[in-house]
Amino acid sequence: MTTEPVDELKPHPETSSLTGTPILEVEDLKMYFPVKSSGFLRRTIGHVQAVDGVSFQVRSGSSLGLVGESGCGKSTTGRLITRLYEPTAGRIEFDGRDIANLSERELHPLRRDIQMIFQDPYTSLNPRHTVGAIVGAPLAIHKVVPKDKILARVQELLEIVGLNPEHYNRYPHEFSGGQRQRIGIARALTLQPKLLVADEPVSALDVSIQAQVVNLLQDLQREFNIAFLFVAHDLAIVRHFCPEIAVMYLGKIVEIGDRETLYARPNHPYTQALLSAVPDVKQAKVGGRRERIRLEGDLPSPINPPSGCRFRTRCPIAQDICARVEPPLLQVGPTHKVACHFPGEVGKHPEKPITPRLLGVDDSGMPDLAAGPATDLPTGPGYSDTWFDLEHNTMGRA
């Protein structure tokens, strides 16, 4: 990824206040896809643990960025939120209502409020429908506008996303990738949603027009007060767009926090490795450069993930405890959580694991009666006003 679009991006307010009421609250969300044997009986021989217990909040009118390598479950999470999939377990509370297990019929009215922008503008628009039919479809399906008013509304929407409203009778193949993505955005906007799941909305686009589309999304967010779940692997764009960011690895959130903390002081070795691979505009201007941390090995299979910490097979600082006990997603700052036994800034990871006392194990991860019973750690979404103080190794508050 080049840094070009970043320079063209409009400035964003550098506030990191993660206040505001959550419109979406996800707790312990799981999606296991069955793996079938080939052959006649097609028995289930295992499960792809695509998403395995993620919790987060998206605040009204704000946006949460979801980053991670390919295959870590970002799209699956997005598709669970929009209920294209029914989760294996977990809670999806939208606007105060758990929608995780609603039937298609019960979901129907809610479909207006949660929409999605797809990654590939070439397969997300029906090639046999005109732009007018595509953007007007939501209106026809939900019968919110009388038939003779649909065209006027469609043209209005095309104008909002920066397309020529007179082009409503053209077909998708007559537009460029960027314009197609705008059509997809117009379709998502048609029903005035409260939450938009944007699954890598610009990664299929030419670098030179990515910034335009991101800026458009930002304008729309401000104008219509839409909350975003913004999935991307381009960290520069997520940083620009989202005040809060969650880093996923193999179906789990390994670190989540406000933008400033996460980029300036990442505590998880995986986040550090991800960030070191991105050229940092600000540091580049100063003349400094991050030390690049290389990730060894391939992503393990989500069918058979490593025991304990899932990142341990590639982690440069892994120890015995990492294979034995899974690190909890522990709050370590006012708006910062990390799932690691040795959290700390680059080069400042503690020598001893910080978690044994909380988990009731010894430093190598063996059960330890002397350590006492495991502490009840808060595991829900959102942040509490008490957290684990890394400097003093105690639960406390600032």
């Binding site: 929009t82 479909r111 628009l125 029906n126 020529n164 007179e166 314009q179 997809g184």
Partner: protein
């Protein structure tokens, strides 16, 4: 009324088009279908075949009108044109003359040209109706099977295999008398189906039903195959996300994307069914004279291979030309819709 120029200029300009550097004008307003039509028109053989198939269709449409208007007389008997044996027409060449361009039938001396023209009407009507029914069944079952994983898909799949492995001709012959009888009696009693009392109509319907009942599996297979890949497209997800009904998903989102291969199938089914009608007639399952079909004329003509060769050849040539011309149009349509396939 005067137009405000500045208003016109501000209207419809799209600076983003320039920014993203897209050449719009060359393809403006052309759907994939229009592009296919343009390709079809460039192919000379396809256009010539299309021209002739249109003439054939026009003949078929015109025939009953001309009969009603008293111009064509397909059933007028001309004993005076037959020779001394009372069978073969006088003067060789089946009695071709200014008033009987294609000669007359041996035996009754009816005008062959008039009979063939009206036969086109009946044969095409049967072929087109059977094609429509075939495509309808095949497309609906194909879409349903392709979309629903699991049991429904499996059931339709087995059904396809079963139908394909069925001895179609045996079935056709064995069932013909009881089925036609059923249509003429039991079905004809159902209000609205009284017309089936007529033997020709009942037989025609029976032929149509048999053709469609055994013709749909390949269509269903083609459609199912298409749907299997189409259902993974993101625009299907997008439609689901909007709360689209099953009906909408099947017939508004998917159907417009499968009908290209279906269209090709249609153009190839019509000639196949025209020849199938002829084959059925040869086996004795057909509308009977005096109502002419290509099948029953042809079945009659094979009795005169040596006694009246002209009468033997002409119906065969008409049938062959019709089938070839329709087939060429079908081939052209396939090439135009899918430019990647080679001939």
């Amino acid at each position: 009324m005067t137009l405000n120029v500045s208003e016109l200029e501000s209207h419809g300009t799209d600076d983003l088009v320039e920014v993203e550097g897209l050449e719009q004008s060359s393809v403006a307003g052309r759907s994939p279908m229009q592009l296919a039509v343009a390709r079809f028109r460039k192919d000379r053989l396809s256009m010539v075949s299309l021209f002739f198939s249109i003439i054939i269709v026009l003949c078929a449409i015109a025939a009953p009108i001309l009969v009603a208007a008293g111009v064509l007389h397909p059933n007028a008997v001309h004993q005076e044109l037959l020779g001394n044996d009372g069978v073969t027409p006088k003067g060789g060449w089946s009695g071709v003359s200014g008033s009987h361009w294609l000669g007359v039938e041996p035996g009754l001396g009816r005008d062959l040209g008039a009979r063939l023209m009206l036969a086109l009407t009946y044969s095409l009507a049967i072929a087109l109706t059977a094609t429509a029914l075939t495509v309808f069944i095949g497309t609906v079952l194909g879409i349903v099977a392709g979309f629903s994983r699991g049991i429904v898909d499996g059931v339709v799949g087995r059904f396809i295999d079963l139908t394909l492995s069925f001895p179609q001709t045996m079935m056709l012959l064995a069932l013909s008398s009881p089925a036609v009888l059923f249509l003429r009696t039991t079905m004809a009693d159902v209000p609205g189906f009284g017309v089936l009392e007529d033997r020709d109509r009942a037989t025609g319907l029976y032929v149509i039903i048999i053709l469609a009942a055994f013709g749909w599996p390949p269509v269903a297979r083609v459609v199912r195959g298409q749907v299997l890949s189409l259902r993974e497209r993101e625009y299907i997800d997008a439609a689901r996300l909007l709360g689209a009904s099953r009906f909408r998903l099947y017939f508004k989102e998917v159907l417009p994307n499968v009908w290209a291969p279906v269209l090709v199938y249609v153009t190839l089914l019509v000639p196949a069914y025209i020849s199938a009608e002829a084959a059925f007639a040869y086996l004795g399952v057909a509308i009977k004279p005096p109502t002419p079909t290509l099948g029953n004329i042809l079945a009659d003509s094979v009795n005169y291979t040596s006694a009246d060769p002209w009468f033997f050849f002409v119906p065969g040539i008409v049938l062959a030309l019709t089938v070839v011309v329709f087939n060429l149009v079908g081939d052209g349509a396939r090439d135009a819709l899918d430019p990647k396939t080679d001939r």
